[in-house]
């Protein structure tokens, strides 16, 4: 948290940064990282890792694009096509996660290996299904990807508009701000559901228990294998939602959209305070971690820092975040646990 302010204060204090449009752009840009990070939070709290989410997101982007295009072409109304696209992305992604979890839980193969292997497989499948190009020819779904909950028109004759985009002459379009675009709204809903599941339900409690002491969880009668399968399915399903959203935003399915986001999402989870040893962390932490990365990358661009510095800074922040986490562990004596078991 301290880190967040240390970095964000100089960025925010530069005047160009704090516009409504920028903040909304940042939110839209970070939604896929948040979505990948949400599932990853469950996985890492259970002391696992899911390296497949990047390519799962790509696969889901392709699947949902195909579902939207093909269902529209056989006469489905556009809203139904979009819903089918969401289902195809989420369920298709979730199925990969189900298989990951099955192999990890039942065959006892380390999660690192399983998800590494499945990410290659999923990559191949995504490229095959998209025939190695971008899936285009979708109906006009820009309204779902690029429109927003609120609109604000700056300057004379402007004001707030709810749901309905105001009709504007083209010369005034630059004065239009979209507040809470649909991808952000959908992501916020998914964040809310993830918080509820992790912090309020038995499933969430078991996720922490499995990460803290799997043997204790097993002896307490928790169906550990079933929980692990569900955790990986959930992780891949949120990645699937991310793929669906990217399809909406670009009106196209891309088999390479997700891969660069994998490491960002893991970075977001770790900056957000989820322990890689398992058993600790929160959804809010991951959301804040994602925002830190977004502010860092966007902010550095706005400060006219060369883009390559983004990677260097994000990498340094990840390492510092883990250092802070470890020193906190030393203070509360978590190192005892590791030496005892």
């Amino acid at each position: 948290m301290i880190l967040f302010f240390v970095i964000s204060v100089p960025v925010f204090s530069s005047a160009t940064f704090v516009t409504v449009r920028n903040s909304q752009n940042i939110l839209v840009a970070i939604t896929p990282v948040v979505l990948l990070g949400l599932g990853q939070t469950f996985v890492i709290i259970s002391a696992g890792i899911d390296l497949s989410v990047g390519w799962v997101m790509s696969l889901a982007s392709v699947l949902s694009a195909l579902a939207i295009r093909d269902s529209y072409n056989i006469g489905a109304p556009i809203w139904l096509a979009v819903v089918l696209g969401l289902l195809a992305g989420t369920l298709g992604g979730g199925f990969v996660g189900f298989l990951n979890g099955l192999i990890i839980a039942k065959l006892k193969v380390p999660a690192f290996i399983v998800t590494l292997g499945s990410s290659f497989i999923v990559r191949g499948v995504a490229l095959l299904m998209s025939e190695n190009t971008t899936v285009i020819g979708l109906p006009d779904i820009r309204a779902y990807g690029n429109e927003a909950l609120f609109y604000y028109v700056r300057g004379a004759g402007g004001g707030f508009y709810f749901l309905q985009r105001p009709p504007l002459p083209t010369d005034m379009l630059r004065q239009l701000d979209r507040i809470l675009p649909w991808p952000v709204v959908l992501t916020a809903v998914v964040v809310g559901i993830a918080m509820f599941i992790l912090h309020r339900t038995q499933f969430g409690r078991h996720t922490y228990a499995i990460g803290g002491n799997p043997e204790a969880a097993r002896r307490a009668g928790i169906p550990v294998d079933r929980r692990i399968i569900a955790i990986y399915a959930l992780s891949a399903a949120t990645a699937g939602i991310g793929g669906f959203l990217s399809t909406l935003q670009y009106t196209a399915g891309s088999a390479v959209i997700g891969d660069p986001l994998l490491l960002s999402s893991i970075a977001a989870v770790i900056i957000g305070g989820v322990s890689l040893f398992g058993g600790a962390g929160s959804i809010m932490g991951t959301v804040i971690g994602s925002l830190i990365i977004a502010v860092l990358t966007t902010g550095l661009v706005m400060l006219n820092v060369q883009a390559f510095w983004q990677f260097i800074v994000v990498g340094a922040v990840v390492i510092i975040a883990v250092l802070i986490d470890q020193s906190r562990d030393l203070l509360v004596g978590r190192h005892e646990r590791e030496s005892e078991t």
Partner: protein, 253 residues
């Protein structure tokens, strides 16, 4: 004397050619603390694992509350009320006290006809407080992860959990190991309190002072066989050591 809670009859456990437990017959009665003694490899752990369902006996029978029982999994024994507390305690150190007491058996609020279920944290907290109070265990706060508690306090959480879930027989494996002296005393107090509430305790230990401090009866094993079964008041440290190293054997005619 009342009927035994647990009766073991001629229990034998072999691993290949090795006989770990050899024709042991043993009774545990309500409201007593019974110590199980023996050197390393004497067969104590194997015997206990047969009772708690981890192993299945090769020969012999067990009766619980007068009924013949066969456990194929630990959960079978637990469902009858046989709770085993191992040295590693089987607690999730990253969770708080109520979460541990209710681990795997969480209380839930139900909404929309059970479609949505949330954890009932409030009731679990108040039930945990009541369970700990009944054993005269007092912590400043129950809602911190238990990794901040001492070894003895965690031991108390494990015991409170077993008691809350209506343990009818408690098996404790070296409960005072790795504890400071004041903590050892508190754990022994807890064992006495369990006995006073009518829950029999089997205490597996190497620590002879603990045996004399808390147990009513004791049984000594050597190389898989029962070599002595006595009232604690009728023996001495020297005699117990002789039994444990195999220099004395009551069972040889």
């Amino acid at each position: 004397m009342s009927d035994p809670v647990l009766s073991i009859r001629h229990l034998t456990k072999r691993f290949g050619g090795l006989t770990a437990v050899n024709h042991v017959t043993w009774d545990i009665f309500p409201g007593e603390v019974v110590a199980l003694l023996g050197d390393n490899g004497a067969g104590k752990s194997t015997l206990i694992k047969c009772v708690s369902g981890v192993y299945q006996p090769t020969e012999g029978e067990m009766f619980f509350d007068g009924k013949r029982v066969q456990f194929s999994k630990p959960i079978d024994a637990r469902s009858k009320g046989i709770e085993t507390i191992y040295q590693d305690l089987a607690l999730a150190n990253n969770l708080d006290v109520p979460a541990n007491i209710f681990l795997g058996r969480e209380m839930k609020n139900r909404y929309i006809g059970g479609l949505i279920k949330t954890l009932n944290e409030r009731t679990m907290l108040s039930e945990s407080e009541a369970a700990l109070n009944a054993l005269e265990i007092h912590f400043p706060t129950l809602t911190q992860p238990i990794e901040s508690l001492s070894g003895g306090q965690r031991q108390a959480v494990a015991i409170a959990r077993a008691v809350y879930w209506k343990a009818r027989l408690m098996i404790m494996d070296e409960p005072t190991n790795n504890l400071g002296v004041p903590e050892q005393q508190r754990v022994l107090d807890l064992i006495r309190r369990l006995r006073d509430q009518g829950v029999p305790v089997i205490l597996i230990t190497h620590t002879l002072p603990d045996v004399f401090a808390v147990s009513d009866r004791l049984m000594v094993m050597h190389r898989g066989r029962k070599v002595a079964e006595k009232r604690t008041t009728e023996t001495s440290t020297e005699e117990l050591v002789q039994y444990m190293v195999g220099a004395r054997d009551d069972m040889v005619a």
